[in-house]
């Protein structure tokens, strides 16, 4: 197996990792905002539920959560485990886990906005909804870009956990080739690919940060 065929196989694995990455971000960011609103709600029961949900998701390994999501339907309802379901389970597991982290980041962002902003909006007669949408949310987004960047970069590397559900993401592919060829080089090439992937992510997030730098 030549170096280039190894690279081609790894790139295919990278495509699978990218799929998890994109779908997770697409759903976990909005879900995180909803969880955050629940966590900050006036209704104490909802707040309690969200706090519990977040503590479980942050307090247990993501790998275990993936296994639970994947196998729970089989053990509880006796459903068959299809390949499609495995992929769905991976996405659900990642989305829910990352939503919990994003929710706490968003909460910190909202709480760091001076009370005067909300008060000024209130006196001007904005509704609660308008105040959140027009005044609080845009300022929160600016404040959370750096911590969100951290999570997004972690997510790139976490995609390798999908191996527990037998999904051929890049690192799984790298390990298979390494084992077959009795050569560690594929692992390092995979490492290089993760590094480049994250370089692109960091660059993109920096652009967003700069785009929001027009005010302070």
């Amino acid at each position: 197996m030549t170096f280039w065929t190894i690279c081609a196989q790894l790139l295919q694995g990278l495509g699978s990792s990218l799929m998890i990455f994109v779908l997770t971000l697409l759903f976990s960011l909005p879900l995180g905002l909803l969880v955050c609103l629940g966590r900050m709600s006036k209704a104490a029961p909802l707040r309690g539920v969200m706090r519990f949900f977040i503590s479980i998701l942050r307090g247990t390994p993501l790998m275990l959560q993936l296994l639970v999501v994947c196998y729970a339907p089989y053990y509880v309802f006796g459903c068959r485990l299809t390949t499609d379901w495995r992929f769905m389970a991976i996405i659900i597991g990642f989305v829910v886990n990352y939503a919990a982290y994003f929710a706490e980041i968003f909460r910190a962002g909202i709480e760091s906005i001076p009370a005067g902003q909300r008060e000024a909006a209130e006196v001007l007669g904005y509704t609660r909804n308008q105040t959140f949408r027009k005044i609080i949310l845009p300022q929160m987004v600016k404040r959370v870009v750096p911590p969100v960047t951290n999570e997004v970069i972690t997510l790139v590397k976490d995609t390798s956990l999908a191996f527990v559900l037998a999904y051929s993401e890049m690192f799984t592919v790298a390990k298979q080739i390494a084992a077959a060829q009795t050569n560690v080089a594929p692992l390092f090439v995979a490492g290089l690919f993760y590094f480049i992937f994250n370089g692109v992510v960091a660059w993109g997030m920096e652009r967003i940060e700069k785009g929001l730098a027009y005010y302070s």
Partner: protein
């Protein structure tokens, strides 16, 4: 009567901040409220603007009750939608300006008239431009608050409040966050509004300004109104010992 506050009581836990305070403001009147820190001046303004809820008493705007004490003795307020209508009667200028940092000066002035009062955007923009000219900030329409000095930010905040066409304007220590040089430009604008017969309630530590601009001065201490009257008598020849003591300390 633009504003009528009757028997307002407010406490934070054990601390009684407002002890049965009544305050009336007539159309065109400029009322200054002075007093030591912790005397309840700011809390009174925050109760009048519904940023704090009163424990009991009555608040009326334009002769219409917005808050009152119900049979059980607790304070009751108009429902939120009705209360928002009352809110368009008044504007509040904060000590810390509280401009929206992500909006340009123009958007700070136009957004609330358009999205709260549902006014025409073009018309609101025209009015905002006129207000900026009046504030001496015609060239700052496209600037962001962070690019302005404190005095300029406070003048934008005054313009933002005026853009809602309020009947009465409240100022909560509008110059306390400014250095003396910038204080002057803000006071000049407020004085100009007084000359145009804008109804205003000003919580301030600027005694000379209060004396020059007010129709009535109120001295508060310990959650009560100790003394009130025309500025010359309250500030020049106070009747109460507590007022004399405060003014003496102030002159030092």
């Amino acid at each position: 009567m633009i504003l009528e506050m009757n028997n307002i009581k407010k406490s934070f836990g054990e601390l009684d901040v407002l002890k049965d305070i009544s305050l009336y403001v007539d159309k065109g009147e400029v009322v200054s409220i002075i007093g030591p820190s912790g005397s309840g001046k700011s809390t009174l303004l925050r109760c009048a603007t519904f940023l704090e809820t009163i424990d009991s008493g009555e608040i009326k705007y334009m002769d219409r009750a917005a808050a009152w004490t119900d049979e059980s003795g607790a304070a009751a307020y108009l429902p939120p939608a009705e209360l928002r209508k009352v809110k368009s009667c008044y504007g509040l200028v904060f000590q810390q300006f509280n401009l929206f940092p992500h909006y340009s000066v123009m958007k700070n002035l136009v957004d609330a008239p358009v999205s709260v009062q549902r006014r025409d955007r073009g018309e609101a923009a025209e009015e905002a431009k006129a207000l900026l000219i009046k504030m001496g900030l015609a060239d700052k329409a496209d600037a962001y608050p962070c690019q302005l000095s404190g005095g300029q930010q406070q003048r934008v905040a005054i313009a933002r409040a005026l853009a809602m066409n309020p009947e009465i304007l409240f100022f909560d220590e509008p110059t306390s966050a400014l250095d003396p040089e910038l204080t002057g430009e803000v006071l000049k604008v407020i004085r100009q509004l007084a000359d145009e017969n804008m109804t205003m309630v000003i919580v301030t530590h600027e005694m000379a300004f209060a004396r020059a601009v007010s129709d009535r001065v109120i001295f508060m201490d310990g959650g009560v109104i100790v003394e009130q009257g025309d500025p010359e008598s309250v500030l020049g020849d106070p009747a109460e010992d507590r007022t004399k003591q405060f003014l003496r300390n102030y002159q030092r």
